[in-house]
Amino acid sequence: MGEFRFHQDADGIVTVTMDMDGPVNTMSEAFWPLYSGTIARLEATEGLTGVIWTSAKDTFFAGGDLNMLRSVGPDDVERMFGAVERVKALMRRHERLGVPTVAAINGAALGGGLELCLACNRRIAADNPKTKIGLPEVTLGLLPGGGGVVRLTWLLGLEAAMPYLLEGRQVSPDKAQETGIVHEVVPADRLLSRAKEWILSVRGDAAAATQPWDMKGYRIPGGPSTSPRNMTRIAGAAAMLYRKTRGLLPAPVHILDTMTEAAGKVDFDTATRYESRRFVSLLPRTETRNMISTLFFDMNKVRGGASRPKDVPPAQVRRLGILGAGMMGHGIAFSAAMAGIEVVLKDISPDAARRGRDRVADLLDRRVEKGRMTPDARNAVLAHITPTDRAEDLRGCDLIIEAVPERIEVKDAVLREHEELLAEGGFWGSNTSTLPITRLAQKARRPENFIGLHFFSPVDRMPLLEIVLGEKTGDETLARAFDFARQIGKTPIVVNDGTGFYTSRTIGTKMIEAVQLVAEGHDPVRVENLTRALGMPTGMLALLDEVQIKLVNEIHDTQVKMGLLDPAKEPNPEARALLAEMVETHGRTGKAAGKGFYDYGPEGRTIWPGLAAWRDANATIPDEDIKDRILFRAVLESLRCLEESVLRSVAEGNVGSILGIGAPVWTGGYIQFVNTFGLQRSLNRCDELASKYGNRFAPPEILKRHAAENRPFT
């Protein structure tokens, strides 16, 4: 359980030092007796003149107990409501002690941690810029149910509170002070003395011991939700939320609604009770359970190195060589240079290499314009990148990543030319998204040092790195690749080799299924809109245009030629034919040419009228089937990857599908989806789809097995 240490000094000020069992303080079951005992003791303390809340840990307080929260079923909701209300009643007693209270924020105060701070009269933070302050609940499908929505709305006003509550923005102490979330930022060694100083300085000032919401005449900054200006703003925020969530994520809607109620529709105590109701209603929902499971637990497993060999000591890349300064190459250069790595960016001509660096400069300039970076920092990052056309400049790199065109002979050639330039013990990464690593490694002198490093476009924004193991890739290489991913701030999943690995293979199925629907005569506009209605960030036809239809065809042809794909077993021959005809007959190669499934003009994109040639007026299909065909293709392919051990863990499949290939967040990833949709229900739906639309929907053995054993995928 741990303890809340209680110490009263000669001035009558009590310092409560929270020191729960485990590495952090959390709102676990142990919290209740500690907190209630402390509040009761404070109320009974004679000569109490002030209270300082602080922590014995590196962090202040970590927030809710997610393991407990994700186990709440529909039958537990009423009990949870009671429990939440009891904690909140304590927080009311906490903020109505009648003496000034200070949160001395020594480290991260997130979620329930910040809510505890908001129940104090004053928040003073230590000046560690790494300290994170915020309410990240929404990112896990939750809402800050410990008074966070109501108190922050009252404190900051509707508009200023929105990014913190609706997006879960986390900020440093400085930024928190700027916004008004904390009052002061002081050097860490001054934290407690400053807290005491403040309490002594407000002695006898009743207002200092009164929360804004308990102060008569307090007005919420920016006015109440009932003002005409705010009514318009709230309606606009609702529309923007819909655009972002497609109505698929309940948490931000509950938050915006609670903010609206809190800011002037009902009194403070009613608002916090309403907040509790809206909070507990989220707990048993599949969206919430999926998000907690994948975005917290799976993510921690993946980032924490579950797939990294344990016995290899950590290492850092100091000097990185990149072959090819195109779209992928310059993006990798950007990410590495941002992490302070020396980058040698090589292309076939000095101009081509320089253009790569210029594109990095463009990315940096945009950050400077937005105020997210200083010009000095920009110059320092750019100075890390050396463009060149000379192979010799790569000598001594501890990692070389090739990002050259997806043709086997080109890949073989650059490997032959550059492998010996690697520093002693250096390793080689291929950014291929489609060619087998084992095959590419055949030409390597040290195949154990060869690994797939599959980045996603645009590299500066996409957080995922798919690390692909060739047959001979060594543990040390894997460990170093993993460390490199973390060094540049990417989340790595580690997969085994196979055509299209995990991500390309899986995203390919849903793209081809969308094309198949068009080839069957269905309305492409409807297919695209229903895909987005699933919560995918973009329609599959638009995505094909982005990646270039021509390229997709070429990769397919290459894979056929290499014997990786058997055209006789092609599950979507009509779709393949359509793609071929698009490019070969109509020159619809993709977005780069301004001509793909869409026409691209100054007013944006519109579906190419020529697709009408494939329309069949007699073709009918329910909306649900369009959605499920696209969703289930990706789900089934993920399960097959698991079955074939391309995926080495469920967690990596879930995290990879959300971060890399547009799995809707509400699903918790393409494998977790099956757990909450229902194993047997998934199986039944597969059978239905298979009988209506073809064998590609037939359930794989692994799904049958799990359904028979009623065993979720974990």
Binding site: F81, V266, T270, S281
Partner: protein
Amino acid sequence: MATPACIFDAIRTPRSRGKPDGALHEVKPVQLAAGLLRELQARHDLDTARVDDVILGCVDPVGDQGACIAKAAAQAAHWDESVPGVQLDRFCASGLEAVNMAAAKIGSGQQDLVVAGGVESMSRVPMLSAGGAMFTDPDFVIDQLSVPQGIGADLIATLDGYSREEVDAFAVESHRRAARARDSGWFDRSVVPVRDENGIVILERDDFIKPDTDMQKLAALRPSFAQMGAYGYDDMALAKYPQVERIRHVHTPGNSSGIVDGASAVLIGSERVGRELGLTPRARILAATVIATDPVIMLTGPGPAAKKCLARAGLTVDDIDIWEINEAFASVALRYMRDLGLEHAVTNVNGGAIAMGHPLGATGGMLISIALDELERRGGRRAMISLCVGGGMGISTLIERV
């Protein structure tokens, strides 16, 4: 009426204090109303596409109650998109006007199945939020001698000679009757507990009733309208009533209707639609009237309205088993009984708005359910329901069990 209008069901929310500390303050009015619509649907396995209209009374249709709350409630209940809705305002008669309008629509053959009732969250949208000429336009106020209702109530007491003791005694009895009815379960058929989105009960039964009300407690309360009258409203009223020397201010919060939150919904339709949907008629609406009297005293309309209603139905006072008069103020009920020659024993037999509160736009629909439940309980046949109304109007509805 050409086509008799049947009442298939009449339900209401419990009522609670219409202030931030009231139990229903946290419930949005659209949800108060939608909850009743969902209940009607669930109770009767109702194909909502068959509902031709939802008519809800609401006296302050602004803020959370603005923008046609009746249509919003039908949508919030996820009723079929073919169901229209309309909000109406005839002051305190709004809920009963909704019922009468539904009866008229069915009687005329224009519509077959209508939900009528009302909603008022007085804690969220306080009285007078909608403003309006009648009480806030100085030109109108002076020209029309428009005084607050309470002045009118005190004027009735003065004219009729109701003492403070008499009006207080009426109030004590209202609480006693309401508490007995509630605690005996006589309201249980119609009162639908209000639940949150999790299904957790927010309010199960009326909690405004104070069963321990007695003469001593009431005597301690100060008159509500004396100060207001002294501002000049008394003089304005007396300009119309020169025979009165001065107004005796006998009404207090204890003998006036309570400010509460609540909603009501009555399912009304033709016999034919009832047969088609398997709905059993509980009562018929025999007649309905709305009239207007002197707007200055404002609250003397119910008696004349009820008389006219009886005449239209070809019935006499003796043909009616029980009477419901909205207890806006004690003197309003006493005047009604005097006008019609009624005993208190058959009037407001289960108490009224003094005990349970008066959620303005919703009350008319609530009185239908109270009268109907009581007719069934005692095996009676007919009930008259009346309310006093702003602007001197009065409204009455006569129902008969089938």
